[in-house]
Symmetry: C2
Subunit: 88 residues, 2 copies
DNA sequence: TAGGACAATATCGTTTTTGATCATCCGCAT
DNA sequence: ATGCGGATGATCAAAAACGATATTGTCCTA
């Protein structure tokens, strides 16, 4: 499923134009991205929760050179599936 | 951020009623849940991708009794943040 | 608005992810 | 429909998530 599939579903179930449906999807996704940008967690019962956590891992690995690489800390988005997504 | 915050954002930016805005959010979330239920992966550039991966059955631990517990295999939703969510 | 359903937390050993990079694949805006 | 920019996969070691359960906290439907 790609973004367009969601847009088509909206279009089909609401009668909205494709452009309007796309706008809806973008609005929602942008709201979520913005919240996460502000280090805000998102919790949607029955779907999932997203939360910003500090990144602590310090080493990775370079395949080609087969050597360890330093990884600078930062932030990550931690995803936790909700109930509906746990019992698939 | 909770579901209602998204609904309010939609309401504010589109002028939709709260009920209609809620319906939009539900539609989108349900589309995604349905896709995952069908073992379909979801990929939305700039946001994230979700994919069903098999869960290996193994062992866990019961805190109270301090004993091992059997964990039956199954499916999990694997989340991978997109570019916009990686450079927060 | 209130209560019922759902999520967070803590714990420990095993399973899974992370992270850089390049080549290949593909979403999606034009 | 086409191309550009973004996503995937592979690799290895270290770091983090997962799982059951009861309790505490909170989302969200009626």
């Amino acid at each position: 499923m790609i973004k367009n599939d969601i847009v088509l579903a909206i279009e089909r179930k609401t009668g909205f134009s494709r452009v309007k449906a796309l706008k809806m999807v973008e609005l929602i996704l942008n709201s979520m991205k913005e919240a996460l940008s502000n280090n805000e967690k998102i919790e949607i019962r029955g779907f999932a929760s997203f939360k910003i956590v500090p990144k602590k891992s310090g080493f990775g690995r370079d395949i080609r050179r087969k050597k360890q690489i330093k990884i600078k800390g930062g932030k990550r988005v931690k995803f936790r599936p909700g109930q509906d997504l746990k019992k698939l």
